[in-house]
């Protein structure tokens, strides 16, 4: 279980997040959505100590500050939005870095299977910096997957915290990655993902938190939270949720009728 209470983030005298409460349960994919600049990435960064924050964050019942860095690394893998890489490492070398904090040591079989999972089989010896943006993102995800390879370890769940894990991927790879995450959750791990695409979120996430203007304005199962009023209010535009009879999950349709030509 990840619980965060009363999270406040101020950067350069500006309040980015205010009084945000957040929970994520193992066995579920928990999505964080919201418009650009709402603070959804900042919330993930607070959960992962990348920005100074106040409040309380617990993972598996223990304050994150009470963990040693390597203990925390064994419990959660983090995928930042943009990760850079100095020096010409190959793909497999980058993915193996995910193994070094855990009990697996230099286990190339796990690194290999992680690459297979993200659809990068055959890329092992390619130079990381020669990959496309989407391929790099998937390689980083494979690294994070290696870090928490067994979703449950010694009876406690392990976590993936991901910032827009499918942002620069094509639709086929988006589905592949979201499926990886869903499987990780089904096997007892926990996934927290900042998401941009509402339809993908509706399809894969179990629980969603909507952040708008630095506040968590809605939390709960996707079916409850994704409704016309809440989404339209959060994104400040007219959105409709629909379902089709053959498919139980909702999809979100923007209402083009509200577009005006006032700018012309």
């Amino acid at each position: 279980m990840i619980t965060a209470s009363d999270i406040q983030v101020r950067i350069a005298q500006k309040t980015i997040l205010q009084g945000v409460n957040f929970t994520a349960k193992p066995g579920q994919v928990t999505a964080i959505v919201g418009p650009n600049g709402s603070g959804k990435t900042t919330l993930l960064r607070a959960l992962t100590d990348e920005v100074p924050w106040t409040g309380r964050v617990q993972i598996n019942g223990q304050d994150t500050s009470a963990y040693k860095p390597w203990e925390l690394a064994a419990v959660r893998g983090v995928l930042p939005q943009a990760a850079t890489l100095a020096f010409p490492f190959t793909v497999i070398e980058v993915v193996r870095m995910g193994l070094m904090s855990g009990i697996h040591g230099h286990n190339d079989t796990i690194a290999q299977r992680a690459l297979d999972m993200v659809g990068l089989n055959g890329y092992e010896k390619r130079f990381f910096h020669e990959l496309s943006g989407g391929e790099q993102q998937r390689a980083h995800l494979a690294r994070a997957l290696c870090q928490v390879w067994e979703p449950v370890q010694n009876g406690s769940p392990r976590w993936l915290l991901l910032d827009e894990p499918v942002a620069s991927l094509d639709i086929g790879h988006q589905l592949l990655i979201m499926n990886c995450l869903a499987v990780f959750a089904q096997r007892g791990g926990g996934v927290v993902a900042v998401m941009h695409d509402l339809n993908l979120t509706a399809m894969v996430a179990d629980v969603v938190t909507i952040i708008a203007d630095g506040h968590a304005i809605a939390r709960g199962p996707v079916a409850d939270v994704f409704n016309d009023q809440t989404l339209s209010a959060a994104y400040k535009c007219d959105l409709r949720t629909n379902t089709v009879p053959t498919h139980p999950k909702a999809f979100i349709l923007p209402q083009v009728a509200r577009l005006s030509c006032s700018a012309v």
């Binding site: 959660r76 100095a86 490492f89």
Partner: protein, 357 residues
Amino acid sequence: MTISDSISGIAAPSDRRSRARQAHIWLALLLGVVSVVSLATGPTGTSLWGAIAKLLAGEPLTAMERVVLWDIRMPRLILGITVGAALAVSGAVMQGLFRNPLADPGLVGVSAGAGLGAILAIVLGALLPVWAQDVAGNALVPIAAFMGGWLSTIILYRVSTRRGRTSVATMLLAGIALGALAGAVAGILVYMADDRQLRDLTFWGLGSLAGATWSKVLVAGPLIGLAVIASLFLGRGLNALALGEATAAHLGIPVQRLKSASILIVAAATGAAVAVSGGIGFIGIVVPHLLRLATGPDHETLLLNAALLGATLLLGADIISRLIIAPAELPIGIVTAVLGAPVFLWILLRRRGLVDL
């Protein structure tokens, strides 16, 4: 998938790793060979082999042989090995810390800071009371050089790194400023120096192993040895740091501790090397770069290989510096610059994007 496919599929990615590990052995052997050549080479015509034959036969060495082999060539050999390893390892560690292949103590003002510390100790050390001079003795110059290198590394890191990202432009420019400042203060001190100190400074500033003595070995050796051994434990951390500070932390690396340790190691190794051998350039940038080309950037193998190759190259350069205008000697800094500067330019040409200011 056949069995051979699956085996090659798993074995192939580790190619660079096993090559890098084999390189430990080859480089150690090469260092051994060059060491023997270094002991056997010199203007006096004293024969290493003759002396060994005598020792094996149980005959006593002549005073000349003892002095040349034991008091001149042996400390010079050890100093060459330690200084070469120190320069290459501090280059590799600094490049890992700054996440940039152009970071080098010589280029970005750390050597200049260490040099300033050494000059301060040489000139102002004379002002200390006699008992303090006795206590500090030979250790004063290396310790001052270490402090100078340490301070410049910290200043450099603070100036050029924000939120875990180092700006190459800022780093190089800050290095130029630090180097200029250290040079200016050193210039003032040279004016204040008396004749004996001036001779010390000139001797020192040439960048040479010629002044090698056992006392220098005893002062610099342990400091450099500790720094090089400590650096071997940074490999995993520096690898993770290549992904950025935040990601390194997520991988379980205590980033602050890693950075402090790296800075201390760079300062100790550079400081001690500069204190005993003056400004020897380019080893720190060329050695890690060649190794990265040959065996990849993995710091877990790179650091030991850098120590071995740095020691080998510096000994090689020292042999050249002794032979090329024998019986006189060329300062070794000239040899490393003549050989190293073109390699450095070649790196710049190949990787122009890295210095896209």
